[in-house]
Symmetry: C2
Amino acid sequence: MSGTAVTATTEGVRVPATIRDVARASGVHISTVSRTFSAPHLVNPETRSRVLACAEHLGYRPNRAARALITGRTHNIGLIVADIANPFFPPLIKAAESQARSRDYHVFVADTNEDPAAEEELVHALAKQVDGVLLCSPRMSNSLIEQLSREVALVVINRQVANLPAVVMDVGQGARLAVEHLLALGHRNLALLGGPRGSWTNREIRRAAGTAARTGDAALAVLGPNPPTEDGGAALAEPVRRSGVTAVLAYNDLMAVGLIEGLDSLGVRVPQDISVVGIDDTALSRRTRPKLTTVATPTGAAGRAAVDMLLQHDAAHPARGGRGAGRGFNADDRRTTAQVMLQTELVIRDSTGPGPHHGAAPSTAAAAAPDMVASSTRRE
Amino acid sequence: MSGTAVTATTEGVRVPATIRDVARASGVHISTVSRTFSAPHLVNPETRSRVLACAEHLGYRPNRAARALITGRTHNIGLIVADIANPFFPPLIKAAESQARSRDYHVFVADTNEDPAAEEELVHALAKQVDGVLLCSPRMSNSLIEQLSREVALVVINRQVANLPAVVMDVGQGARLAVEHLLALGHRNLALLGGPRGSWTNREIRRAAGTAARTGDAALAVLGPNPPTEDGGAALAEPVRRSGVTAVLAYNDLMAVGLIEGLDSLGVRVPQDISVVGIDDTALSRRTRPKLTTVATPTGAAGRAAVDMLLQHDAAHPARGGRGAGRGFNADDRRTTAQVMLQTELVIRDSTGPGPHHGAAPSTAAAAAPDMVASSTRRE
DNA sequence: CCCCAAACTGCAAAGGTTTGCAGCAGAAGA
DNA sequence: TCTTCTGCTGCAAACCTTTGCAGTTTGGGG
C-alpha cells in the first residue's frame, strides 16, 4: 500500500489526511507537526524533515478552515462586484489579485448581477471565510453597508460611506471634463444616460455633469436610471434621438457603445449627428468604430489600493478569534479610516465632434480651459 | 447600551457574537440555539422566537467555517478560470452562479492569469473551504489534476481527464465545420492560430482542423502556441500576411479580433484579402467590424452542467468530516464519472468570404455538405 | 392513578488546528 | 558538581459549531 495516500484508520476509504495522521506516522505529537508547518524554526531539523516526509507521503495539507477558526486569519480576501461581464471589472480584479498574491493572500470573487439582495447575502456567506471584503460599486444602502461592516472588515470601492475605508475614483471630475469637452465643441443640448439606481458613481456623475452644464449655459437631460449594460444603452437610442440633443454622456462605456450601435441602426451617425462620451476607458473603447471618447478610470490602482487598505487595516486588528488578547475591533480604531481618491482623465478619441453651427472641428477643441484641462486630458 | 451588538465579556470591544453569547442571553443551551437555526422544527416555537430575538439583537450569524468543520459541507463551490478578462468566461461564470444559487450554494471565482502554478495553488487554497472545484480550461498536466482531485472534488471543464467528471464543448466539431466552411469558400491555404500550451481545447482544435484540411486537400499552417489574447492575435498579423494564406482559424475570438485589427493596420482587408474565423462566439464577435464568423460554444450550458455534476456527485458523498459513517470517497464510486459533451455550432457572419479564383461569393457557400452542416451552422 | 409517548432540551464529544505553558535533556558556565 | 540556560517536544485548552443520546416535562389513554 505504499505510494498511496490512505489513512491508517479505514482501509480503502480515501480521506484527506489530518495532522493527527501525520503525527502518528512520524511518531511525534500533533503540536510538533503543527509547528513544522507554521513555525519551522521551533522544531529540530531532523524531526522536521521526518515529519515533512510523512506529510508528503500521506498527501497532508493543513485544513485552512480549521486553522482560521483558531488563528482568526484565513489569508483570503473576498471581492464582490456588480457584474463580472462588465469589462470595467476584470482589470480591477486582476490588480487586486496580484497585489493580494504578493502579500500571500488569495482573492475570491463573486458577482451579484447588480442585485442588492445578492450583495448582502454574499457578504454574509463570505464573512467568516475571509479576512475582509472588497465591496466594489455596491448597490445597497449605506446603512446596510455600515451594518455589514460590523460582521466583517469592509473596504468599499466607488462609494463613500461614513467611517469606512474607501477608494473612489473621481468620476465627478471626469464627468466635468467630459461636459466641458462637449461644450468646447459647441454643444448646448446634452443628455446624460443614467446608470443603475443605488450607484454612488451615478450620483456623482449626475451632480458634476449637472453643474458643469449649468455653468456652461447648456441644457442637460437626464435619462434613467438604466441597467448599465450594452442593451441598456441601445434601448436609449430612440429616446435620445427624439430628445433632440447633440451630445450624450453615458454612465459607462458599455452603455455608450450600446447607444452608438442603437443610433447606428436608426441611421444616426456618430459623431456627425450626435457626439457620445463614455466612462471607464475599458478595452472596448478602443475597439468600437468610431473609437470612443471616454473618461479613463484607474481601475488597476483602485484594486491595489483597496487591497492595501484592507490588509493594513487588518494587520492592526487580529480580527475575530485567536487566543491572545485584543481581539476584535476597538471602537476608536474604526475612526482611523482613510479614503483614497484617484484621479480620472478624459481620453479624446473619435466619437465626439463639433456641435451644430460649427462648420469645421477646431483641432484644439478641448483647449477651452487650457491650464486645468492640460494635465487630465489626453488625445489619441 | 441597548441597540448595539456587544458581547457581555468585554465592554467596549466589538466582536462578532457567537452561539454561546446567544445561549447566555436567551437562557438556553447552545445546542438549542444551534437547532434554532439548523433544525427549527425541533425547538419549541416560544423558545425559538426568544432565541431568534436575542440572535437578532446581538447580530449573531452562524460561523460557516466552524459549521463546515463538523458537517463537512461548506455550501460553496470554487470556480477557477484561466483569465477573467476573456469574455468567454463571464457567461459561464454567471450561469454557474445562478445554477448554484438555485441549489443554495455560492460560487467563489478565482483567476489564474493563464499560469498553471497559480492554478495548483488556488486549488489548495480553496480545497477546504468549498465542497468542490470547477476547473475551467485548466493549463496544468493531467497527472497533476488527478492528484489534486484526491484533495477536493473536481469537475473539469474543457478537458478530459481519466476518471474525472468533465463537461467539454465539442470544439473539434466546431473547428471541422469552420474549416469546411472555408474550404467551401474556395480557400486552400489555411492557417491556424494556436492557443496556449497545455490547453486541451487547443489540441482538439488542432487535431480536428488538421484532419479536415487534409481531407479537403488544403494546407494548414499552425502558428503557435500563443497567448490567447487580443495582443496575441495582433502579434500574428505580420506572420500571417507573410505566410500567404487566404484564411485563418483562430484559437478564440479574442485572437481573431486582434488579428483582424493587426491586419487592418497592415492594410490587409478582411474578408476580401483574408478570411478569419474565431471560436467562442463571445459578445465581442457581433461588435467587430466586420462581424466575426465564429464557432459558438454553449458556455452557459457548460457552467450549469458542471455545477450539476459537482453537486450530484457531491450529494452522494458526504465529503470529508461529518460525524456519520461513510465519509470520504469510496474508490469504486470514483469510476461512476460521467462526461458531458456539448455541441457547438458555426455562426457565419462577415469576416469570411470567397477565396482566390472565386469571382463572386456563392450565397450558399456553406451548403457544401448540406445535410450534416444544416443542424450546426447558422447564418446571421 | 399509572404508564407511555411525544415534545423539548441539555450534555458532551467531535471536527482539525494553534499555542501558552510545562517538562525534559543536554550543554555551558561557575 | 550544581545551576542556568537553550533547544526541543508534549500536554491540553481553545476556536465555534453540530448532533447522538439521554434526561425532563407534559399530556393523553387506559
